[in-house]
């Protein structure tokens, strides 16, 4: 057995950096040029679609949400508006590169963050029914790798062993890391396990671990990576804290408005990073549920059902709002409290997969979402 001759400081440097190294990039290269890229922005906490895209044409909106609807929304048409935080997104709508699906969500009505987030990532028939995610399964079906921009490998991307997760960090002296310990550990493992340690060793010397950590910069980095020939096809960025039970605010300076601004900046970051690859890209948001129609006693909203989904990218050639509007009157609400979801958001995800990965809808419906009868909404979004 070889003698491990490392100082305590060197050992700490390696072991302390191992958590960091686990999140460094190992690009997932593709063998066949893909038709497009797909990026997901997960809005955790339950994004309020009624504030983000106020249906001002519904007479009940002003009655029920006086303190939550921004006065300075952008009129998209005679029924829907757009929150002022979406400055860049509104520009994309003007360029016919962005759309909104309203009164939509995954078919989950029990209002638990844990269950809802699991279902929106897993894409199964019930929470915690799947150990892989809908995007990972799609990439596997397309025999293409993906990449996640987060420290852990989120459920949404699990499903293919060629995925890689990455959360950029820069730890003092990590660039000069000695790989001796990694090499020695590698020697005592089987061929398969030793490959993992080789990956770690390789990651420790990669320069592109240096990326600012704010979500917009991550998006730009992801866009740049996806724009490269043979680069990754998919990325996932997570934004949390949408759970606005109190002091939600209405305009761009409120709590919810600032989060929406962050989403807007992420989309702008993707646009900037993707460059010419923007033309074949699709970016979509996910949230586990919407929020109650009525404002609560603490100037916020509680867990609900239907929300809004944002779509952007050059793959969209006509901006529109797509909705089967259920109405906001009490008898039109789900459980007399939530915005009803009238469009299964899995259909929207399926359309984006079909567009970016060139998979057949029926295959996506049955193999990715386990729902053969899942409606196809591709033409509503991309025609």
């Amino acid at each position: 057995m070889p003698k491990i001759n490392l100082s305590r400081r060197e050992f700490l440097k390696v072991s302390g950096a191992s958590l960091f190294l686990a999140g460094l990039p190992l690009p997932g290269f593709t063998k066949v040029k893909p038709p497009g890229t797909i990026s997901v922005i997960m809005l955790e906490g339950g994004m309020d679609g009624l504030t983000a895209v106020p249906p001002f044409g519904d007479p009940n909106l002003s009655k029920m949400r006086k303190g939550l609807t921004p006065d300075n929304y952008l009129k998209l048409n005679s029924f829907f508006g757009l929150h002022p935080s979406f400055q860049y997104f509104s520009g994309l709508m003007a360029k016919n590169n962005a759309s909104i699906v309203h009164a939509t969500n995954f078919p989950y009505t029990l209002r638990s963050h844990f269950e809802g987030q699991n279902l929106m990532q897993g894409g199964g028939l019930s929470p915690f029914s799947e150990t892989s995610g809908w995007l990972g399964r799609s990439l596997e079906l397309a025999k293409l790798p993906g990449r996640s921009l987060s420290l852990d490998m989120p459920l949404i991307l699990r499903g293919t062993d060629r995925n890689d997760n990455f959360y950029p960090a820069s730890i003092r002296s990590s660039g000069n890391l000695k790989t001796k310990l990694i090499d020695m550990i590698s020697m005592f493992h089987s061929k398969e396990s030793s490959q993992v340690f080789k990956k770690v060793s390789k990651k420790s010397t990669q320069k592109d671990s240096i990326v600012p950590r704010d979500p917009a910069s991550l998006a730009k980095y992801a866009g740049k990576a996806m724009s490269q020939e043979g680069g990754p096809l998919s990325s996932v960025i997570k934004v949390s804290q949408f759970d606005t039970h109190s002091n939600q605010g209405s305009d761009e300076f409120g709590r919810h408005g600032k989060l929406l601004k962050l989403v807007d900046e992420i989309i702008a970051g993707y646009r900037e990073g993707l460059g010419d690859a923007w033309d074949n890209s699709i970016i979509l948001t996910l949230t586990e549920f919407g929020r109650t129609v009525k404002e609560n006693g603490t100037w916020g909203t509680d867990h609900g059902y239907g929300s809004a989904g944002f779509l952007a990218g050059g793959a969209i050639t006509k901006s529109r709002v797509i909705s089967k509007w259920p109405g906001l009157a009490e008898n039109e609400q789900f459980d007399k409290r939530d915005l009803m979801s009238t469009i299964d958001y899995r259909s929207v995800c399926a359309a984006c997969i079909e567009k970016s990965l060139d998979l057949d809808h029926d295959l996506i419906a049955s193999k990715v979402f386990f729902t053969p009868e899942l409606p196809r909404v591709y033409d509503l979004i991309f025609s």
């Binding site: 048409n77 003007a94 529109r320 469009i343 909404v377």
Partner: protein
Amino acid sequence: MKKLYLLLILSLLSIKGFAGECPDGSDPVQSISDDGSYFVYKCGSSNSSNNTTKVDQTSTDSDTSSQAKRKTSSVDSNITIYDVVFSPEVLEKLLSLVVIPTDYDFSKHQLAKNVKDIGCRFTMTRIVYDVIEEGSIEGWNIAEGDINIKGSNVEFGKHARWRMNGLSTDPSYFRDEVNLRLTENGHIVGKMAFFLLSTNQGEIPRNPLYPTLTEHKRSTPIDLNNIKKVNAKLFIDVEDWAGSVMYISSCKYQ
């Protein structure tokens, strides 16, 4: 008996009103009224296949312009497409929001014409204004390498590199995030990614700045009439406290 006839007539009218066909034989299209309070049924153009959408006539929007509502017959007949419609003024304003940091309008400059392809060396140093007003030029290069001029286009070469660590080590900034042109009087104008501060290991990396390169009063421009003896000194304003000087020399025709 009269009541029965009346009921029969009313029933027929009702069926005609709610489930009747359009003149072309297609089904009426359901949409939401302008005030959003009720559904309206209108006849539109017929569709040719399951995947095409029926287009309803437009309705007038008081502020902007007309809004077309369409629905598909392929998925759920009640899903409506609300087209996004902006007035010309709003559209122009919104389009200006989608800009890339290196976007620049060169129309206000007289750009160089008929310049043969030139390859030069460049160095950039930082000039700091916190002590004396005219600034003090630091004695080390923040960037260096080769720069090429083709027509009026100015591009950095393969050997161009920033020396500020962090993100600046990514060669794509010199390759992809530069939008510069040469003017006919030898100035370089436009926008580019610029690293004014260095990043030490362990520090959070800094994003680049995107200063505008102008025809600076203090600059000594590139002498296009004497390429072999070019010794240009181009000032770049970046921030209040510091900027940069780009030296261009050793030019050759390519």
